[in-house]
Symmetry: C2
Amino acid sequence: MFPTTIREVAKRANVSEATVSRVINKKGYVGKETLKKVEAAIAELNYTPNEVARMLFKKKSNTIGLLIPDITNPFFPELAKAVEAVAQRLGYLLILCNTESNPETEKKYVRELTHKYVDGLIIMNQNNEDITYDELPFPTLFLDRVHDKRVLSVSSQNKEGGRIATEYLLQTGSKRILHIRGPHNVTTATERAEGYQEVMKKNNLAAHVMDCDYATEAAYQLGKSLFKKAVEYDAIFAGNDLIAAGVLMAAKEYQISVPDELQIIGYDGIDLCKHTSPQLTTIQQPIYKMGEQAAILLIAQIENQLQEKESSSHSFPVELIQRGTTKPLR
Amino acid sequence: MFPTTIREVAKRANVSEATVSRVINKKGYVGKETLKKVEAAIAELNYTPNEVARMLFKKKSNTIGLLIPDITNPFFPELAKAVEAVAQRLGYLLILCNTESNPETEKKYVRELTHKYVDGLIIMNQNNEDITYDELPFPTLFLDRVHDKRVLSVSSQNKEGGRIATEYLLQTGSKRILHIRGPHNVTTATERAEGYQEVMKKNNLAAHVMDCDYATEAAYQLGKSLFKKAVEYDAIFAGNDLIAAGVLMAAKEYQISVPDELQIIGYDGIDLCKHTSPQLTTIQQPIYKMGEQAAILLIAQIENQLQEKESSSHSFPVELIQRGTTKPLR
């Protein structure tokens, strides 16, 4: 059941494997008679070019690597789905590399992908100073992360998102606004925090920032430690929806009325927002579009069809989706 | 920046590429002197065996395919994460194939994976009569799906899960129990329905079964169509957690009190259950363990280390997790 090999074709046509290879890849000189013999053998044996042999010849594998910090954070499967749909349409397979944000795992993956002639790599992981992605022997693209200007990147307007969230909370009457930000090596988390800080400063209000992992359990614990004392804040802008959901769980446990006593805004716009009670207000990123755009740009670069570096970083607008954890605008 | 090739090593050692290949792969005869020369060239050039060349030689790529119906259904990323963790530890890369349950996409993927010498395939997709998986030129394993006995499978005790859920609903006082089952080509959905029907029959109660896709939106619509009339049922056993979450959303919209007027049990035990309000009672599958076991068994088969077919199908126990959408047992 293994597909016919180049060796069998060569034997049948009574030529060398190198000759068959030249015919298949339409490279180098092949005499007319020889060409006929090889083509006849290919037809008789119902040969389809062996992808692996082609790969060796062309140093091209038609695969793309996808480095993901955590596939169980619902934000990433949605991105991965879009990348995969485009890749598949354009003839590329996707190698899933889930790193659990472990720098050693990331390094190991990058090494393996290099040896396998992967054609390109989409990186959703965060800063790892040990890896200089712009020196890899294949094109790379950063997704949901802003990086060195020489490398392609697709993200959304995170600083603007931080501004929009904070301004909304002010407009609906909150003043003591806490921002629970994501990890410090995550560039987008820092941008969101900057947007928050800018708006607080402009309004002469004190900024309060706490750190949290992008995980509901961690946020739930942080929320409980906040709420067991008298609640100091009347609003929380959470670094992502998982943090918002965790904080909301804790608030309910301490019978804090949301949004009356405490407003909460999340970030990303994952499906989970619709299932919490009340439903989560969030800053919606165009997740699927970002994934599509990333795959299109990377493959264009792989196939040398990228237009003259008009711009290497692509940033999508975001919007606030008003749901149950914030008060409506008057 | 491309790694050193076998060709460069051959040139440096002044031998043929075939000879270098024999040295690298420790196959076939190589003279002592030649061996020394080749090893010296390898050391000087800091050569690491080219994975692609090895792949061609051994017809082995150290990659595993993973066919998934929908990566954005939270059940699958959790499974995929476990498969990936084991694969990585044992030296295999994972090719993510998201089929959107489209049989044509599935066929296309299987064809591509065959041409790329993938070493094995884990199938989470459902019945596709066009593909005879046991005739593929590499080992296959069905995950969360029971299949032909000749093929390896890892799943959980779905019929038992259906029984447990239904019995619990009876024990907590419900009698008019509706089962909203998953798609008919999904073997595990059918098993869960069988468990439900068996228990209803044993108790001389009428079974009511409706069909739904494994998606919250579809279940929400179905729920609304049920609840806008007088509610006939006092409990719903949902085919998975997404269906349960959708039905719960609809019940809240129609101000049906859960669990007092209507009990709901989901299936799978995904993270979402903890974020709904009330939190979802569910039949918990050991998702991560199932994924690990699948990867271990498939790789054992690939490496011919599978113990004499003691059993080809592995089935994990499940348990009911009592939360807020059902009444506690008295």
